[in-house]
């Protein structure tokens, strides 16, 4: 039920895919549940990890961000200063949050909303249930701090939601670029 000795190597080598930006409609569609043992899903998980790895500062990537409306994402918060519990690199299918607590605001960005950041209230501790791509083995992940935030952000993507749908108020969105 835990990640155990699962490694992304079991997925094979992924391709680096282009990341789409809002207002691309796929980002607002509810992703389909997937068969985690389907070879296409395994390849998608590998592609997501490969794309995340080449993207500077990227701590997670969900299928809708590469144009696929499906409930698959990857996360890796290794070495992040705001991380507490760290599970390394992993990919999950059909993930659901089954427990959430310790709500607190924090500022988030997103590769699919490159020009803005926003303050979003997220649970500082979550329990997530999902299936591992490849084996389809059920997994129950207990985590906190930044990894919990990343999981909630990616699970939102799989539900067709962006951080913009959850910003805490009109003064909680910030421009990354200066228009001069």
């Amino acid at each position: 039920m835990t990640l155990g000795d699962w490694t992304p190597d079991t997925l094979g080598t992924g391709r680096v895919l282009p990341v789409v930006s809002a207002p691309e409609p796929v980002l607002s569609r509810v992703g389909a549940e997937v068969d985690p043992a389907d070879p296409d899903v395994v390849r998608l998980a590998a592609d997501l990890i490969a794309t995340m790895r080449v993207s500077p500062g990227c701590v997670g990537l969900a299928a809708p961000q590469v144009g696929v409306s499906a409930q698959v994402f990857c996360v890796d918060v290794t070495g992040h200063p705001k991380a507490g519990t760290v599970h390394g690199v992993f990919a999950l299918c059909n993930a659901k949050i089954v427990e959430a607590s310790r709500w607190r605001p924090g500022r988030e960005g997103c590769m699919s909303v490159p020009d803005l950041t926003g303050d979003v209230k997220r649970a500082g501790r979550v329990v997530v249930e999902a299936a591992l791509p490849g084996t389809g083995e059920p997994v129950r992940l207990v985590t906190d701090a930044f990894e919990a935030r990343a999981l909630q952000h990616e699970i939102d993507h799989c539900a067709g939601l962006l951080f913009l749908d959850r910003v805490v108020g009109p003064h909680a969105i910030y421009q990354r670029k200066v228009y001069l």
Partner: protein, 176 residues
């Protein structure tokens, strides 16, 4: 001025080319005239400096005159006018947040805020941003009790019409 300072409420806007020191310059002018700066909000809108403020104190003409050196080169625009003080009433409505995002097109703000108004909602805070092709609106709205469900339905219809995403949520405020 003098003994009458404090009786005038002034609404002032300062907008234009941004540079370091505008807030300090304007605040200094106001302070020099004995104006008491009360509520204000400042941001940059597409790189333009924009400050809206309310202050108490001197006559509007005196403030306009004192701000003239700051606006003389035409890159900054300041307006000053006397306003009638508003009653500070507690808002009886229920605070909600409206988030809108989607491809930029004409009429998004008009269509969304018209629905809010039709539901008896009052917009108490609003930000819009255009980032590339993406248009974003976040508003805090005060809704009459029981109006949220109906508004939510009408906003869903508007979202479909405009081809944007709209969410309506109750704004959280934890009293500690």
């Amino acid at each position: 001025m003098g003994e009458t300072a404090g009786v005038n409420e002034l609404a002032i806007t300062v907008i234009g080319h941004d540079r370091p020191g505008i807030v300090a310059d304007v605040a200094e002018v106001l302070g020099g005239l004995g104006a008491n700066l009360t509520d204000s909000t400042m941001t940059r809108l597409r790189g333009h400096f924009a400050w809206t403020l309310v202050c108490n104190g001197p006559e509007a003409d005196a403030v306009s005159q004192a701000l003239e050196p700051l606006t003389a080169d035409g890159r900054l625009l300041a307006t000053v006018r006397a306003v009638t003080p508003e009653e500070d009433e507690a808002d009886a409505g229920e605070p909600h947040l409206v988030s809108v995002h989607g491809a930029d097109r004409l009429g998004i703000v008009a269509a969304v805020t018209r629905e809010v108004a039709a539901a008896g909602g009052n917009i108490t805070d609003l930000t819009t941003r255009l980032a590339g092709l993406l248009y974003v609106l976040v508003a805090e709205v005060s809704l009459p009790a029981g109006a949220a469900a109906g508004l939510s339905e009408r906003l869903a219809a508007a979202a479909k019409e405009l081809d944007v995403e709209i969410t309506l949520r109750r704004a959280e405020s934890d009293l500690l």
